[in-house]
Symmetry: C2
Subunit: 269 residues, 2 copies
């Protein structure tokens, strides 16, 4: 349905988790949230009751998804786009998000900052219990996107993962988690950036269906752990002969009723 | 059944591919071939009719598996252990391997060599159409192995993947393939060693069964390609409720009747 005007831009209000929460998103042009955000959110363990940071929060889909599933969690949403940050704030003001409002803060900040500039931008050191990150995917070689806002969200810079993961590690407490969703081609950049910072790393590929190559990976790690990495059993979004219908597992995950299978035994609901 | 004495060591003769070929292996103590070798062999496309190099060939399981499935292929088996190289040669002399004998050569050489020493050891430059490699897995932190021969095959050195992959690239023609089987924890070392040398990289995780983390990865690439990497749909060795029985796909692969699903459309038989 139609949403409020945000910074003069027309928006929609979209239900997630079957009405568990709502997002205010620009009606067109900008990056709109979908499966990625809810799959990323499913990397946070069930029962999570700590402080979550969402880097590249957009309109808030991933953070709201965690807050909706984990009633004791709190979150800070970091978003560099003024429009998207305003959408996230407008989302928190919706009647349907009353259960999230007091547990979420939106900070307009560039998570690629470093050192003192990063702290001054509102990214405190050694603070968060879990960090989720949905870095802009598309690199300049990919299909051009005409809309300026979308381009801003999608421009890939060479060391983007390195800078985002450095920030994620800096703001996490020792033993805190990180979960990143990205394209499969980025796995080495991500693992190199996590090396020496994170252990117990789990790479979980997300495939459209059995027999098809992965379209995403979710990489999770624990700050300071020295445990070896694993490849988790993948998520298939659709069954082999399931057409466009989600697999049972993907349906549960995208609706906040299951987590990604994890190394620590936090399995599906 | 009992095999010939090889360098004074008792051996067994074991059937693979349901009698498609046979291996002479030390009866005990040394590394004995199993699923890994046949899964690695399945990374070579159906219809392969070129020159194959098998790095760390052991008794020959992977190379023989390719030669049995691909009747026009030829292979050079490189093995540093004199005993295992002798077993591979003894295998080629078996009556049941008459269809392999004239297409395979065993070279006792250390594939970690470099430069002129490598060429002098019998590893020619720009020569092979496909290279398969089964580098020694276990590192010194793993469970100690009492038998000297096994220890020799299993001692991991820090830059082992770097050296093996450098050799693999040197001996492959441009456009030639490489397939490596390894533990999941080694994925970054492998991908770093392949960077700038290989493209069209496909990482295929091998899981015991759905829901369990991968126990192996098979990484395939094409020398000189600039195509982006992919995560292939994984191989599950067993079905979810299948006990110790192989899944249909794993059964076909380990019996030389299917290949690993691949980026180039060379699918299962």
């Amino acid at each position: 349905m139609d949403g409020p005007l945000v910074m003069g831009v027309e928006t929609t209000v979209d239900a997630f988790h079957r009405g568990g929460f709502y997002l205010v998103q620009p009606a067109e042009g900008a990056h709109r949230s979908g499966v990625d955000a809810t799959v990323l959110a499913a990397a946070v363990p069930d029962g999570f009751a700590g402080m979550l940071a969402d880097l590249g929060a957009g309109a808030g889909a991933a953070a709201f998804s965690v807050l909706d599933r984990c009633p004791q969690a709190r979150a800070v949403l970091y978003e560099t786009s003024p429009l998207m940050a305003a959408c996230a704030r407008a989302g928190l003001a919706l009647d349907g998000n009353g259960h999230l409002k007091d547990r979420a803060t939106v900070v307009e900040a560039d998570v690629a900052l470093d050192g003192r500039a990063r702290e001054e931008a509102g990214l405190p050191r050694d603070h968060f219990d879990w960090v989720i990150a949905n870095p802009p995917f598309n690199d300049p070689k990919d299909r051009a996107t005409p809309k300026a806002e979308k381009a801003g969200a999608h421009v890939m810079q060479a060391d983007l993962f390195a800078r985002w993961i450095k920030t994620a590690c800096a703001i996490a407490r020792p033993g805190g988690g990180l979960s990143v969703i990205a394209r499969p081609k980025s796995v080495v950049e991500i693992l190199e950036a996590m090396r020496g910072r994170y252990g117990a790393i789990v790479v979980l590929p997300v495939h459209p269906r059995p027999g098809k190559s992965a379209i995403r990976i979710v990489v999770t790690g624990i700050k300071g752990s020295r445990k070896q990495m694993e490849f988790a059993s993948p998520l298939f979004l659709h069954d082999e002969d399931g057409g466009t219908k989600f697999s049972a597992r993907a349906h549960a995950i995208t609706n906040g009723r299951a987590t990604l299978e994890r190394f620590d035994g936090c399995g599906e609901a």
